[in-house]
């Protein structure tokens, strides 16, 4: 039986193994069911207690029952035993159960290997710097546990230092693999279906309250790097889904929205154009959130008939896109009549008061522009309040909002405005996306968060095309000019990251996000394209996977050779005392006194004293210091003294000459 052959586990290694297990499992607590996290913690604590009290391990039958119960509970919780989330939960559970039957060294090696595997699974959930640093520490701990397991008892400091040294030695190999391992677009292995659940972003539907949830998230939607100056804050409208269908409650993208247009949309720029590269976080949607309105789009994207820029596939990973946009535009002077008809459709019977009001405006004013201006005046002069906590609305949502509650959020204003316009016979639609963004002074990137999510409106006027109208601006101009935290009352819920009053906290956040951005751009964003760029800069003009593999193999061989040579030479590596003593002897050699290899320190000092009596004192001092340090139990102070002897040597010699 293999068990009996394996060496028994030293009790001293157990705290190391438990700490490594805890460090590798702990971050998963963020997404595992609470009961599982607690049981894992309890199992590890139980094992630690058994170790402290030197008690025997629980009987196998009990462990079997616990393990089967745990697996059954996990299966019940996830309704499966397959898939990413359930698989990770099972590994975490095993990680806590294994220590309870850990008797031999072989058992604990299995635990460490399981730990290394568990480390990888964290990258399913997060690839941030913090995760990277934590996992680096966890890796160090795992290596330290291995060292403790096989290297016997040493001070903890020494074990951790050795582990860190081992990791540092693997750094060149890691860099080579990172830079040269042939990259493929997309993930290396197919992810299970649940991999993209929980990505937040805009949706193709908007009902009252749907944007609030987004706004309560401080996470970053995308970052933009402008080539040159930034457009003014008030024209930073990032276009997402355009909602043209209204059923009285929900605005949604018409089914035809994603189809390519029959005729290319015509966008004319009336002012300055801006070039920029935007790095979008994964959101599982196709909208690329270009600045209104895009003139040039990245290859492979499509400009839909309502001017949304669409990618071919939903965005599953963070990606970079280059655009050129014109904030001041004229779009589609001539519009497809079918589309205009769509933009006039309203559910019959609903919102009678609003319709009546709109029809009275239509009678009163001649041009659509005047009707729109009247609507905005209506919002500005009737004590509308901008808040994230609007009261609930009834069946006639727009009537309730316009004439009763008068408290709402951008989606209420956009929605009510578009309903009024359509009722007044002006083609209008709701546009959702993001508005604004915050410039990070650290790296010059404009950061746009989920909390910058916004809804505005567009109306079509014959001869002038589609024009952007933002009714929110007439209620809460500061929302557009200074951002959402300035526009909302302090009592409204906003993520702490968005509403930061203290300067140093804001600066800290900016630095953190800039570092994160650099990490995203250069580490996580190191894709096949960047790899090709790097390789061509290194002289590989047309790298294919064959010569890349060859280069990889060569460099790995070189790195391993260097490590091997360093390891072999380590046997003769000098201690600090030896180096100091050798420096002293080299200095003396220049004075004509060469130490023979076989000469011990005191014998050498005695010879120097015979042949060059003036140097006797310092030589005896240095020799006895070295003897203490190298052959006895020297102190750091003595090492310093020995170094001082070397420093004093030439001057003392010159003095006597």
């Amino acid at each position: 039986m293999a068990r009996s052959k394996s060496a028994p586990l030293e009790p001293g290694a157990i705290p190391w193994l438990l700490a490594a297990a805890l460090a590798t499992a702990a971050p998963h607590a963020a997404h595992l069911p609470l009961w599982l996290s607690l049981s894992v913690g309890a199992a590890l604590l139980w094992r630690a207690w058994l170790w402290r009290t030197d008690s025997p391990l629980p009987p196998r039958a009990l462990l079997a029952v616990v393990a089967l119960t745990g697996v059954a509970a996990i299966g019940w919780q996830f309704r499966t035993l397959l898939g990413r989330d359930c698989g990770v939960a099972l590994i975490v559970f095993f990680m806590a159960m294994k220590p309870l039957e850990m008797r031999t060294r072989r058992d604990s090696t299995a635990l460490v290997m399981l730990g290394f595997f568990l480390l990888l699974t964290h990258y399913f959930y997060s690839q941030s710097i913090v995760t990277g640093l934590w996992l680096l520490a966890a890796t160090t701990l795992l290596v330290a546990a291995l060292i403790r397991l096989h290297g016997g008892g040493q001070p903890a400091r020494v074990i951790v230092r050795d582990a860190a040294l081992l990791l540092a030695q693997s750094l060149p190999l890691m860099l080579i693999l990172f830079l040269l391992f042939p990259r493929v677009a997309g993930p290396l292995w197919g992810l299970p279906q649940d991999a993209h659940a929980g990505l937040s972003g805009l949706s193709d539907r908007m009902s009252p309250g749907s944007l609030n949830r987004l706004i309560e998230s401080g996470s970053i939607a995308f970052r933009v790097e402008f080539a040159g100056e930034l457009p003014p804050q008030t024209s930073l409208y990032w276009r997402g889904p355009v909602l043209d269908d209204y059923d009285g409650l929900t605005w949604s993208v018409p089914p035809s929205g994603a189809r390519p247009p029959a005729t290319a949309p015509l966008i004319e720029s009336r002012g300055k154009n801006y070039r920029y590269v935007s790095t979008l976080e994964a959101n599982n949607q196709r909208w690329l959130l270009a600045l209104d309105l895009p003139l040039e789009r990245p290859a492979g994207s499509m400009l839909a008939r309502r001017f949304e820029t669409l990618a071919r596939e939903p965005l599953r990973t963070r990606a970079r896109f280059a655009f050129s946009s014109a904030p001041d535009f004229i779009a589609n002077r001539d519009e497809d009549p079918a589309l205009l008809l769509q933009s006039l459709r309203l559910p019959a019977q609903l919102n009678p008061r609003s319709r009546k009001l709109a029809q009275s405006w239509r009678a009163q004013f001649a041009s659509p522009q005047q009707i729109s201006d009247q609507a905005l005046r209506f919002f500005a002069h009737n004590d509308f309040i901008y808040t994230l906590r609007p009261p609930l609305l009834g069946q006639n949502a727009v009537d309730d909002f316009l004439f009763a509650t008068r408290r709402g959020f951008c989606e209420h204003y956009a929605s009510a405005y578009v309903v009024l316009m359509r009722a007044a016979g002006v083609p209008a639609r709701v546009v959702t996306g993001y508005q604004g963004g915050e410039l990070n002074p650290v790296d010059g990137y404009l950061t746009v968060r989920q909390s910058d999510a916004h809804a505005w409106a567009e109306i079509w006027i014959a001869g002038r095309g589609w024009q952007r109208v933002d009714p929110t601006a007439s209620v809460a101009p500061s929302r557009i000019e200074r951002g959402i935290d300035a526009a909302l009352p302090a009592s409204d819920p906003l993520p702490a990251l968005v509403r930061i009053d203290s300067d140093w906290l804001r600066e800290l956040r900016n630095h953190y996000e800039a570092a994160n951005n650099r990490w995203n751009q250069w580490v996580l964003g190191y894709n096949p394209q960047r790899q090709r760029e790097l390789l061509s800069r290194l002289g590989f003009t047309d790298p294919d996977w064959r010569n890349m593999s060859a280069a990889l193999a060569t460099l790995c061989a070189i790195a391993l050779t260097i490590v091997a040579i360093a390891t072999l030479r380590q046997r003769q590596r000098a201690t600090p005392a030896q180096r100091a003593w050798r420096r002293f002897c080299t200095r003396l050699k220049k004075q004509g006194m060469a130490r023979e290899d076989w000469e011990g320190p005191l014998a050498f000092a005695a010879r120097v004293a015979r042949e060059k009596p003036p140097l006797a004192t310092i030589c005896f001092k240095a020799a006895s210091l070295f003897a203490q340090l190298h052959y006895g139990t020297g102190t750091p102070a003595q090492l310093q003294e020995l170094k001082d002897c070397t420093r004093r040597l030439p001057s003392s010699w010159r003095k006597i000459r």
Binding site: W598, G600, P601, A603, Q628, T633
Partner: protein
């Protein structure tokens, strides 16, 4: 015993011994190291250079009980160990201990004895006990044998085999005294007469703690590297028939510790190893190109071939 008195008492012993045996400081120190390292000493030289005087002097200075056996070719083991004789009054055998039962035994001209007698002595040296008539008797503590032998080229001797030479921790040669020392000797008359006047610097029970302390002198990994390098060099060298054995390496370390202890140091230096190496290694190494054992200059050559670490 406090640490301040210990080196000074040893220094006293060395000074007093130097008064008796002139110009042989190194040999006296080596002999003392051998004693402190709980080893046995072999002195090899021509007759009349002071071998017996040295042994006698050390015994007196250390306050140890001393006895002497002059070996001859007709000696039997019982002459050394002792004999059981029948006691009529008690109707039993009574053991009469031989010269072996003393703290310092001078085995003079050991190579004149037959191998049978030699091995009886050497067994006792190794085991520090004697078994006769089925009864085991412990030898006194400390037990220190100083054997002398004439160079084996002389007629009528039985050279000690390798295995038995290995029992001696150190082998030293006294050599002729230098000019000044010989003059002083001639002027002052023979030294044997001074011996009874020497007073002991030690009591026997002081010696055992000293031996224990000498065995505890610090040895660093770097020094072990050096000792191993030396031993490996003897094994790799074509100059010698065999290299040094692990027992010899242990002997080297023990002797070096005692040497450092006599020098009043708390750790062993390569110099200590080098100082005792000729004594430890020469009689254990046979030269490949001649029948004789390694000479001092061979050992010096060995020392110079190995870098200290």
């Amino acid at each position: 015993m406090s640490s301040t008195t210990k080196p000074s008492t040893i220094a006293q012993v060395i000074d007093a011994a130097n008064q008796v045996i002139l110009g042989k400081d190194t040999q006296i120190r080596l002999a003392l190291s051998c004693l402190l390292a709980r080893g046995h000493l072999l002195i090899e030289d021509l007759p009349g250079v002071g071998k017996t005087t040295l042994a006698h002097t050390l015994a007196r200075l250390l306050g140890l009980q001393f006895s002497r056996i002059q070996f001859t070719s007709d000696m039997l083991p019982a002459d050394v160990i002792g004999i059981s004789i029948y006691d009529r009054e008690r109707s039993d055998f009574r053991f009469l201990p031989g010269a072996l039962f003393s703290q310092v035994l001078l085995a003079d001209e050991i190579n004149r004895a037959t191998p049978k007698t030699q091995s009886a002595l050497l067994e006792a040296m190794e085991e520090r006990q004697v078994t006769t008539d089925g009864q085991t008797r412990a030898l006194p503590e400390p037990f220190f044998v100083i054997a002398t032998q004439n160079p084996s080229s002389q007629i009528g001797t039985f050279a000690l085999p390798e295995s038995q030479l290995d029992r001696f921790l150190l082998r030293i040669e006294l050599g002729y005294p230098d000019h000044a020392a010989e003059r002083a000797l001639l002027e002052g008359g023979g030294r044997r007469e001074q011996l009874p006047t020497l007073s002991a610097c030690f009591s026997p029970d002081q010696l055992i703690p000293l031996q224990r302390e000498a065995a505890a002198v610090h040895v660093s990994p770097a020094l072990l590297d050096y000792v191993q390098a030396l031993v490996e060099a003897t094994r790799a060298s074509a100059q010698f028939v065999h290299g040094l054995s692990p027992r010899a390496a242990l002997a080297l370390l023990a002797a070096a510790r005692a040497w450092a202890f006599i020098d009043g140091r708390a750790m062993v230096l390569p110099e200590d190893v080098q100082a005792v190496l000729p004594g430890v290694a020469a009689h254990r190494l046979r030269l490949a190109n001649s029948a004789s054992h390694a000479r001092a200059e061979d050992i010096v050559k060995l020392i110079r071939a190995v870098a200290v670490s």
